[in-house]
Structures are given as C-alpha cells and as structure tokens.
Assembly symmetry: C2
Homo-oligomer: 270 residues x 2
C-alpha cells in the first residue's frame, strides 16, 4: 500500500491527539502536514459530554485549528441520529452541558419534565448528583427509551482512570430493568458512516488513526478503511498480532503521519 | 393457629409503620399493644443509609419509643457481618452518612483513600455526586470487594418512586465489571438470623409483618416464621394466593395487630 492512495483521515482525539491535559508530541505538526498535503480529515471522538464548539476551543489551545465540519463527537452523531430518525421527539439528558448544547444545535427538543421525554440520552456526567440520577430514572419509568452516546467504562483522568458513561448507564438500567436501545459511539456503523459522509470519500481511500483496538481499529476494519493504531493512549504495547482486529500499521504516535504524507509512496508501509 | 403461640414480632418499617413522611394509622397503638401484652419485637428494615439512632429519633417523632436493641437496619446487619467475619478490614462507602455512623458503631475502620479499602459498602446515597461515584469506582478497581446493604430498585419518595440502591450498585458493577459478593438486606438469611437472635425465640413462635411479598414474606417463609402481609405499602391488592410466597395473613394494615394480641386466641385466624 502506498500513502498516495490515502486521501481521507479519521482521527481519534483522546489518547491520539491529546492525553489528559497534554497535547501529544508532534500532533499539531501531523495535522498541519495533512492540510499542507491537501488531505481531508475529520476528528472522530467518543466524547459525548462536550459540543463541537467546546472541542474546537480545546484544539485551538493546542495550536490546532479545525472547522466545525471537521469534528464529529458521539454527541454530534447522537443528535444527528435523533434528528434524522425521531425528528419530533422530546429528550431528557443524563450528562454534562455539552450534550445538551449539541442536541440543541440539531434542533432536538428538551422535555420540560422527565416524565414527558420520549428518549433519555445518556453520556458522561462529571457534575452528576442524585437529583440528576433520579430525574433520568423517572424519565425511563415513564416510558422514555434509552440512547447512549457511547458505553466506555473508563477514561483517563488527571490522576488516574475515572468512571465513564457505563456507570451512568448501569445506574439507570439496573434500577429500571430497561435496556439501552442504541449505542452511538465507536465502533458503531453510525460513527463510521458519519465520518465517511463528512469526508465524501470511499472507505478504501481512508485511514483511521486511534489508540483503541476495539473502538478505532474495530470501526475502521468493519467499515473497510485502513487502520493505524497509535501507542500513545490506552493501548501501550504491541502484542504481535494478538489483537482481535489487527491494524494495518502500529505507530508510536500520530507524529508518524508526517512521514506518511510527507514522503509519498515511501512511507511506513507494512 | 392461635395468637398466644406468637411471642416475637419482626416488624418492617417503610410501608408498614410509616409511609413517606406519614405514620400509618394505628401503628403506634399496635406497638403499644405488643408492649402491654409483654411481647418481644424488633423493627427490621432494609434501610441502609440511616443509623439506629436516626431511626429511633424518627420513630419517637411518631410516638413510638424503641430501644437501640429493638431496631435492626440493613446497615446494622452489614456492620455486624463485617465485624464478625472481617474484623480487620478497612471499608470505603458509597452511601449516606447513616451507613458510616452504623459501621463506626461496630468498630469498622474506614480507609483513608478508596485505593486502600478491602470492601466497598454500597447503600442508598441521596446526596451522591460524581466524585462519590468515582471514589467508589476506584476502590473496586484497586481490589475492594463489594457488599451491599440491600438491592432494592426503588423506594417511595414524597413525590413518587425514587431510584434506590440498585442504581448505585449498577453504576459500580457496570463500570468495573465486578460483582456484588454479599447482599445483606431482606429476604436474606443474615437479616432473619439477626432478628431471631435479637428476639431469642424459635422461628415458629415469631411473626413477620411487612408490606413486601418478596422481602418480608419471603424472609419469614424461608426462616420458618409466621407471616402477615400488610396492604399499606408497596403491595396494595390481595392477589388471591398468586404471590410467590403466600402469607399466613393479609391485613389492611398493622393496626390489625391490636386485635391479634388484644383478643388472645380469638384473633384474625386464617
């Protein structure tokens, strides 16, 4: 495979571009190299508790300028899912403000009371209280169906792993007996379709770059994209092909992208 | 069966003695009748987020005086379980302050950091925040085993059903993949044994009175006690023997107890 065959890049954020509060060495330069080479790219993240605007601001602080169209979060894709399939629905949310911002930007109506909601949208809620849990519980007890932006169990925090969306989901499903009907986040087809649709390229001309074998490499494999696993995040060791989905490349970090797009055709081939 | 054969009474609280913020009509008189007749009794409740002292104060406000020995909460029985089986353990808690008070009264050590805990004790946590959830998550990720005071899904609040301990448990088990090792609350044998040990009577001379077919009647049946279901709480209709555990009596409320102990031998026989 040669690098010139790759025109679209699907780039994970946490563990790939930044890690905790730090930018990963070479990430801004790698993104700049893509721009310079005229490549299309989209950031594709399972973060569901922030909006694209919040994400833009964060990337900008790291010296990476991205348009709104170049960012797809699981909150974005969840909002689009509801707008396309349930345009008249009312939602209740269990999650941080970024989710509500993203839903509102797609014109999704927020119910006045949990009892009135058609859907409960769950994402990470770092400011959760018992009151929030109880309102979400009531929405489901009164018939709201459950959609989750993602179902990650943990995410790396400043002082170690933290409880993620799976905890919020578990609280509601265990107390109500209800099931989650839709999980939007990677490695789902919803996220892959959203990325390919944004890039307007066939899957085989696209490369997924991410730190999660399950979410990123899994999504790329299923969608027919090329895949590069970076060891700068949650996956830290090469395991000689023992991963369930074997990536096309394994890189120390996204900085390798500079070589790939900089030296056309003589890149990091397998 | 005649009432004179019954010398010990195991009495549920929520839905049996009070409901929400209201005392159930005739409950103080029924307890007074037991005292007058020289019967032994113990209040046995799945509440795990309060201490016996808190419970005493509440009963006193309703005109019911009970000694500490006449109250057994799931927090009490959990504390006793740990003192008897894991005397040197350190615990972390996910629950309201009453649980910690009860654990401390049995000399159970609270860990300084979640990472140091041998056991995570989970109960209802009406002042829960994300920070609390995350600390509990960390305790389990660092090896703490899980013991729950009970696993009720809901409890009746002032303005409708509220999310109960099952929600707190679900958050931790779903995010960590860990299982709950011990559930102390009714209908467990731990609670039945604690009640019989407090009454110092054989099971066949004891009557369980409660509003839950599963928790109260189930506990009584398994332990060999007589059972009376009251329709003043979560169970509101007689179902003509369709319950999984058929109670010996079905009463509108605990007020029936006055007839049973007042008219020895001519009471509410089946």
């Amino acid at each position: 495979m040669i690098a010139t065959a790759l025109d679209g890049f699907v780039i994970d954020l946490d563990g790939t571009v930044f890690r905790g509060d730090c930018i990963i060495d070479g990430a801004p330069e790698a993104i700049a190299a893509l721009r310079q080479a005229g490549k299309r790219f989209v950031f594709l993240s399972n973060r569901g508790n922030i909006s694209r605007t919040m994400c833009q601001e964060r990337l900008s602080r790291y010296g990476i300028e991205a348009s709104e169209e170049e960012i797809l979060l699981s909150s974005t894709v969840t909002a689009r899912y509801l707008r396309d399939r349930e345009p008249d629905c009312q939602v209740w949310t269990l999650g941080d403000a970024g989710l509500r911002e993203e839903l509102a930007s797609f014109g999704i109506a927020h119910a006045d009371r949990p009892e009135d909601a058609d859907w409960l949208v769950i994402t990470l809620h770092e400011t959760l209280t018992y009151r929030d849990l109880n309102a979400a519980f009531r929405a489901v007890r009164h018939g709201a169906r459950i959609i989750a932006t993602n179902e990650d169990r943990t995410f790396p925090g400043a002082d170690g792993d933290q409880i993620d969306v799976a905890g919020m989901i578990g609280a509601i499903t265990a107390s109500t007996g209800a099931k989650v009907e839709v999980v939007v986040g990677k490695p789902s087809a919803y996220m892959a379709e959203a990325a390919l649709s944004a890039l307007e390229l066939p899957a085989e001309r696209c490369l997924v770059i991410g730190d999660s074998v399950e979410s990123d490499i899994g999504l790329g494999k299923r969608a027919g994209m090329k895949t590069a696993l970076v060891l700068s995040g949650s996956t830290v060791q090469s395991s000689d092909g023992l991963w369930p989905a074997r990536p096309d490349w394994v890189w120390p970090s996204i900085a390798e992208l500079i070589r790939l797009v900089g030296n056309k055709g003589e890149g990091t081939d397998e």
